[in-house]
């Protein structure tokens, strides 16, 4: 089998003859940017073959490269097969770059009462007068130590095989691990001696792009460490749909394995940091969206993406680590969050749990924004939820200089209303190469305040200013001149970009208003608006309201949940009560299909305006914009 060496870094992988460079890279642990899922479409997995026998269809993919590049061995990793040992150069931009991963969870203010407990026991050895069975002896001991009644604990066969040896070898001193599972209690481990202090659990946010893990000392009730990394499934496609399509074509096994590896990588890092043994982790709580949950469990998600969009599982599920390939204690319970629909998944239920909105009489709104968005409205008695496609603009896609929150992304912008000059900050303070979502929202808000754009987002090219000009196809505003930029050229935002952004934000706002209309409440009735997810954490609340991404509420009612998914997973890990609430929350939610709602398109059109066509819904924004306009007024009228 050929050995492929990747430069720089000399990572190696042994692959079968004819394997693709991409497969070799995956095996070598490199995470390449493969937006299309390895179909030769996106042209992102560019590598250069230094030596070795490979084959790449120059005819078919030649258009992507210059002849000189092709001659130098440049090709697409997913479309190049390896037939001998090879050395392959991987440019930095081909690798998924380190992105801001939102690790921060909210501090917990709930009592720690985990579902899994350890009982250190000193049992009396059996005698002819006391001949009760080993199991009864052990379980009685657990009961006497304050554990559940012996009759309520189920002991699986693998435990029965272990008990006699452990008891006798340890001279009747042992530690039993008992977990509360759906349907009762379960004996999940017996160890010699006293190990009660070594009881750990992990809460995991299994995202489409990233995995975040929290490691808990369940006996002591504290967080030991956290870790995060990329979801390895990225090599099978960047978004959910391409993962599902990959599963359709190739089955779920590979994706299941990658999901498990991704979780294991995070858990290993966290365990290393905390200096504990993975085998002492007895419970894993996983919050993921519906597709990620399906894929981790190895369930085919194909039927979810077509009408009528039915997921296979909708409630809390428990299984063991062994069965999923997680490298913690083999009998450790793995719990996945319930889902409501294909879009309202465990991550959203975790957000709701984190927000506490399901415990309140008042009505709150929760929004999770990415390429897709989810929105939940309600309180203790009822909840309405919907989901939709916002398009990639808010994450920097479909925008000329849009980018993810990578180093060099402009993440904060202000536009001076008098001079129309921008002031910006970039991630890691390096020269700007593009603009990420939070920067785009700032920019939009800044440009409307400065009257550079009108309420439909059209740039007023009548303004005589060096930063406002007609671009090749569209009018544009220069955010960073070539000399200020790290991209080697002017960084601009075009009228077309702005239009895409407005359409994205309109989808979110229209969905929120659809929920509010369905319940018959107005923005004044909202006790809190919760933002969840990475995107929500970085955006400027005031600017989000100014452009009409969310309904106007007083800013002190807008709250960021941070990584609500992992916080929710933490809660459900350490608290039986919170875990019990999950299924109730999932049952309370009424899902609204936006496509079937006849009023949605109307609300969408209304929302394709800054901030909204009905200005009375945004009284404060309207007042501010009116003042801005009056200040600028004299200048334009001339």
């Amino acid at each position: 089998m050929p050995v492929v060496t990747f430069l720089p870094g000399y990572r190696k992988a042994r692959v079968p003859q004819g394997a693709t460079v991409l497969e070799a890279a995956q095996k070598a642990g490199l995470v390449m940017n493969v937006v299309c899922g390895g179909q030769g479409k996106c042209g992102k997995c560019i590598v250069r073959i230094e030596n070795g026998e490979t084959n790449f269809d120059r005819e078919k993919f030649g258009v992507l490269f210059a002849a000189a590049e092709l001659d130098a061995g440049v090709c697409l990793a997913c479309q190049t097969r390896v037939f001998s040992d090879a050395r392959i150069d991987v440019p930095a931009q081909t690798l998924v770059q380190e992105q801001k991963i939102l690790v921060d969870a909210q501090p917990l203010d709930i009592p720690v009462h985990p579902s899994v407990r350890k009982y250190a026991l000193a049992l009396s050895p059996p005698t002819l007068d006391d001949p009760s069975s080993d199991l009864a002896r052990l379980l009685d001991g657990v009961e006497h130590a304050g554990g559940p009644a012996a009759t309520k604990v189920y002991a699986p066969l693998e435990m029965l095989r272990k008990i006699p040896v452990v008891l006798r070898h340890g001279r009747w001193r042992c530690t039993a691990t008992v977990a509360l599972v759906p349907g009762g209690y379960r004996l999940i481990n017996v160890e010699e001696g006293g190990t009660a202090a070594r009881l750990y659990g992990a809460a995991v946010d299994l995202g489409t792009t990233t995995v975040v893990a929290y490691l808990w000392d369940l006996a002591g009730g504290r967080v030991l460490s956290t870790a995060s990394n990329y979801n390895r499934q990225i090599s099978c496609g960047e978004d959910i749909l391409s993962r599902v399509n990959y599963a359709k074509k190739n089955g779920t096994a590979h994706l299941q394995e990658l999901a498990a590896v991704s979780v294991n990588t995070a858990l290993t890092a966290a365990a290393d940091a905390a200096g504990i043994d993975l085998e002492d982790i007895y419970e894993v709580m996983v919050a993921g969206n519906t597709v990620m949950t399906h894929l981790l469990l190895g369930i085919d998600p194909a039927y979810m993406i077509a009408e009528p969009y039915v997921p296979v599982v909708r409630r809390t599920l428990s299984t063991t680590a062994q069965r999923l390939g997680l490298s913690v204690a083999p009998t450790a319970g793995v719990f996945t969050f319930p889902a409501v629909s294909n879009f309202i998944g465990g991550d959203i239920i975790a957000d709701i749990l984190t927000s506490g909105m399901a415990d309140q009489d008042e009505v709150s709104l929760l929004i999770d924004i990415g390429t897709n968005f989810e929105a939940v409205l309600g309180g203790r008695d009822w909840m309405l939820a919907c989901a939709g496609a916002a398009g990639p603009a808010l994450e920097g896609g479909e925008v000329l200089f849009g980018m993810r929150a990578n180093p060099g992304a402009i993440e904060r912008v202000r536009v001076d209303e008098a001079t129309l000059e921008p002031a910006f900050e970039t991630i890691n303070r390096v020269p700007p190469v593009g603009i990420c979502g939070s920067g785009l929202i700032d920019l939009l808000a800044g440009l409307i305040r400065a009257c550079v754009i009108d309420r439909t987002g059209q740039i007023n090219t009548g303004i005589d200013h060096p930063r406002i000009r007609m671009g090749r196809h569209f009018p544009e505003y220069v955010v960073a001149r070539e000399d200020e930029s790290g991209a080697g050229k002017d960084i601009v935002i075009t009228g077309h970009d702005i239009r895409n952004l407005i359409m994205s934000k309109a989808a979110v706002l229209a969905a929120c208003i659809t929920l509010m209309d369905a319940a018959g409440i107005s923005h004044g009735d909202l006790a809190t608006v919760f933002f969840s997810g990475a995107f929500g954490n970085y955006i400027d609340k005031e600017n989000a309201v100014t452009i009409g991404l969310i309904p106007e509420v007083p800013l002190d009612r807008v709250r960021n949940l941070g990584n609500g998914a992992v916080t929710g997973a933490n809660q459900a890990l350490v608290s039986r009560e919170r875990r019990k609430a999950l299924d109730r929350i999932a049952r309370t939610i009424t899902y609204i299909e936006l496509n079937a709602d006849p009023g949605f398109m109307d609300r969408y059109t209304q929302s394709c305006f800054l901030p909204h066509t009905d200005l009375s819904l945004f009284p404060t924004v309207q007042r501010v914009l009116e003042e801005c306009r009056l200040r600028r007024g004299a200048q334009w009228q001339g």
């Binding site: 009108d454 309420r455 439909t456 059209q458 007023n460 009548g462 109307d602 059109t605 209304q606 305006f609 066509t613 200005l615 306009r629 009228q637």
Partner: protein, 305 residues
Amino acid sequence: MTERITEVAVGATRTEGGTRTRSYRVGGASALPGMGDAGARPLIALEICDDPALWPVVVLEEVGDLAGDLSGWAKAAEERWGADLVRLVLTSTRRRGFDDPASSGKAVGEVLAATGLPLIVEGSIDPALDTGVFRRCGEAGEGERLLLGTAEAERYRSVAAAALAYGHAVLAQTPIDINLAKQLNILLRETGVPHDRIVIDPYTGALGYGFEYSYSVMERVRTAALAGDADLAMPVISAAQDSLTVREVREAPEGERVETAVQWEFYAAFSAAVAGAGIVCVRHPGTVGMLREAIADLWGGEGWR
């Protein structure tokens, strides 16, 4: 419904600074027809054009030589057919390579000289031409309080500028959507065009070809305004411009073609009046009289209020 539709002045007589023999205040209703005070009856505009090549055949057959004679056509609209307004469509600007905005101004002047009726001017639809065409039209009609069109969401600044500079009102056209109509009105307001200088053209699809959308958008625009939405409180103009080129008219038997053309315009225009339009536009001269009578009848009702 308690609010009132904003009144827009169209046309200026000598005492008002123009040369028209009459002028109108469009709007003023506080209810839809049949539901209260519907204000003055809707005005009927007859459309004429400066380049008949793009005009419906069934009209050209009716007007004969007048088609090439802008003055005669405009005069006949007033004297022979009894229209309230003339709507001059500058079809010449739609020709490829058009580069003579001065001719547009001249056409406006010619029509103003030929008739005492107030004038609606429908200019270019190309951002590259707009500035020149609208400036010339606005200039030619200075003081006459034209209704100058058409502003659209993507190209409203040049129409607005010409209207503001020469004292005209603006036609604000959006594609059959109440929200877009409202948005354009806000854009115009924020460009400096006051509410009483805007007329909403929500775009009217021909009968059987999208008219159901147009009808409901007109009703929605009116009911929203009467319920207090100031950004929709301007008068509505309706012109089912495609009426005379629909299949039913094109393929009507020879002897029925004129009658079909007239009915196709009539049903749409009359319905628009019922939906609260303040100005209805037609192209076939035969429709004008029929419509005038029907509207008078509609306004001559006795309710029970």
